[in-house]
Amino acid sequence: MGTAKTRAPPKAATEPKVTRQIPQKTFVLDNGAYAIKAGYAPELPSSDEAALSACSSVPNALVKTRDNRVVIGAQITTNVSDWNEAMFRRPVEKGYLVNWEAEKEIWEQSFFDEKTARNKNTRVASPEETTLVLTEAPNTLPTLQRNTDEMVMEEWGFGGSILICHSIEGPTLNAWNEIHTLFGDSITPNPDSVIAPADCLLVVDSGYSHTTVTPVYKGQALQRGIRRLDIGGKHLTNYLKEIVSMRQYNMVDETYIMNEVKESACFVSNDFAGDMERTWQAGRKRQAGSEEGVVVDFVLPDPNAGKKGFMRPHDPLLHAKKKKGALSGLSAEVLSEDVLVLGNERFTVPELLFTPKDIGMKQAGVPEIIIQSLSALPPGLHAAFLANVLVVGGNALIPGFMERLETELRQIASAECVVRVRRAHDPIRSAWLGASRLANNREELSKVAITRQEYQEHGSTWAGRRFAGTV
């Protein structure tokens, strides 16, 4: 482990051994822009399923509903039933934690306040005896990092000790996962061995605010290879919203509903021109939608009747039938529902991730960013990284994403290299899982963590330099 971190131990060794003791309990907080993934890391190494059962997802937002109620954090999932015209305020802006006023409120509600934080998996009763593992996006501004240090240390006082992974960005934590089984490698993980990160892993993290490519070498990011595409799930939802609003109903205020539409209907096309042609022809002929047709109907949710939105095959005669009203023999239920007809919207929207040029953006698509990232690294590493591409983040769940990425990457990568692209088993909570596995490796953890005493002694500037690996 010839890393920058190894320069720290001589200094630490001169200090009393006690100060490097970090608390046993580790609270892992993956502070995503859309949702916080939080929970205690299991004390003992356990299976992935057992570990993930301790992880719960909390919306990272303040929601203002139509009737002007403001709902915070964990209560959003339980207390909001009417999502029409719901407004969001998110403390994480462009992937980076900016607004601490809102974030503090969400954290307090969800993790610290004994009245509201009922879930014992995510309740931090005594921060003083807890180690915090907090993730952040790559290339965070130093000012924001210092703010995070100061808030975590001085406001909540994650007392005994704390670890803010400055050098360990969210994507890096994925390297701690068991990726050998994922890639179909026949090595069997030795349950007795110390948990160690993967040697070479190229993490593609396509989240809510942006998509990043991070080459991770033995658990540490190669900073010069990190690249970011400024398109994430938020942009896809907004783009879909815009298109649908222009072509059908005005949905510009229905962010939540359009996000649901996106999640259920959108897919990445592996034959863009062909799908485009098929959709157009289906629209011309107005024939009954066959099973494999691209065009679908999405029935919008009806909060008054308590019905959720759902997708079904397109019925081109539905509109005409509705005009006839009750004469056509449709039930009142069908007559009252609102339907969005989705044709090429289904695949032109996620297409932005692969050709941002379609909206005039001057950035390359995801496969080419991977090559851009690699071109900044020594050529000896290219083969190793191309053979270990791991995709995490919510956009990885869009059907067809993985196939398209692998195909395009194969086309532009050097012919001698093996290209293997895999999706994490749980792409959304993959970073959390990796962090919980890191937490089991006490030695590594104490190497990168700083304790509260150290913070009080040296201050936040020192903490920043320590995480940057320069102290």
Binding site: V70, M87, E114, N139, N147, D185, D199, K362
Partner: protein
């Protein structure tokens, strides 16, 4: 010739008239846009010459800013005011420190923070030590890969020089240090080249690389998708040496994995600034695809008045009747 042009800015709302933008000196991209032939050529031929007009660039910027919003309307969602009783539930925790108060009351957006950061970088304070370190790594990478192929060294150099303006400013010390590194370590570079030279006759470099990165691949039964080198590399302990190993057709030209020292230097590099990590434009010069502004099918024809695309006469009629005339 005198003319007024609306330069692209990042504001999300359309303001009439003009905006103030920072003049950063001579910009070849904008200089290329200046009309040299006819007064209206720049407007008429927008999009044809590869570069978009400033008006289109503005529209694109505004569209991207709109896609980046959380809500369509600007809405203030205040944090609910807590009752005094609840506020007292801080319990055993210490009082709010001044740092915390400052952070909580800060209403800065990410844009503000980023501007501060850019200003600090322009002053040359931010990554002063970092760029030096990066240049050092570049020098070593160049020294190492220089013998094998100049291309990779160029890539690394391009990445390093393009990383930030601050790095470019310190180009003279960087080159000095690189030459110093070359002078100081001719033996190391020579040793590196000799090791590659000695090991290239056998497929040893690829062997060591695959063995380092995923040793499990060697025992996996389904590795038929691995390339020939990896397949050759399988019986690593007992390589059969033949006289054909030196044959130029059989030699493996796979680049060797970098040494530990280089990896340590790479790992110790400071993070790139926010703007330097942004993805570059695509390298392929494929023409942009156009879509019908109404139905989303291919935009085959262009409205002669407003330059929006439609797919055919059906959509064009709708466009002409209802939406045309909108200033692009």
């Amino acid at each position: 010739m005198f003319r007024v042009e609306l330069l692209p800015d990042s504001s999300s709302v359309a303001t009439p008239g003009y905006t103030y933008v920072a003049d950063r000196g001579f910009n070849p991209a904008q200089a290329a846009m200046a009309p040299t032939l006819g007064r209206k050529r720049g407007i008429r031929d927008a999009g044809k010459g590869g570069d978009v007009s400033s008006r289109q660039a503005n529209a694109i910027m505004r569209h991207l800013a709109e896609l980046d919003r959380e809500n369509q309307r600007d809405v203030q969602i205040p944090v609910p005011v807590k009752q005094a009783k609840e506020a007292g539930s801080r319990g055993t925790r210490a009082k709010t420190t001044s740092n915390v108060r400052r952070i909580l009351q800060s209403q800065k957006t990410f844009r503000n923070h980023l501007d501060d950061e850019e200003a600090a970088l322009a002053m040359g304070t931010g990554v002063g030590s970092g760029s030096g370190g990066g240049a050092n790594v570049n020098a070593i990478l160049q020294a190492k890969t220089g013998g094998a192929g100049g291309k990779t060294g160029k890539v690394a150099a391009a990445a390093g020089s393009g990383s930030s303006a601050a790095a470019r400013r310190s180009s003279t010390p960087a080159t000095a240090s690189s030459s110093a590194a070359r002078r100081k370590r001719p033996s190391a570079a020579a040793a590196a080249t000799t090791t590659t030279a000695t090991s290239t006759p056998t497929p040893a470099p690829s062997v060591s690389e695959t063995a380092d990165t995923h040793p499990e691949a060697e025992t996996s039964p389904d590795n038929n998708n691995h390339n020939d080198e990896a397949a050759d590399a399988e019986p690593k302990p007992k390589l059969i040496k033949t006289e054909h190993d030196n044959h130029p057709l059989l030699r493996s030209y796979a680049p060797s994995a970098p040494s530990d020292r280089i990896m340590q230097l790479l790992l110790a590099e400071p993070p790139l600034p926010y703007n330097a990590a942004r993805a570059a434009p695509p390298s392929s010069s494929q023409p942009p695809r156009h879509f019908c502004c109404l139905c989303g099918y291919w935009g085959k024809i262009r409205c002669k008045t407003c330059h929006l695309r439609t797919c055919g006469l059906d959509c064009y009629k709708v466009h002409e009747d209802s939406r045309c005339g909108a200033f692009f």
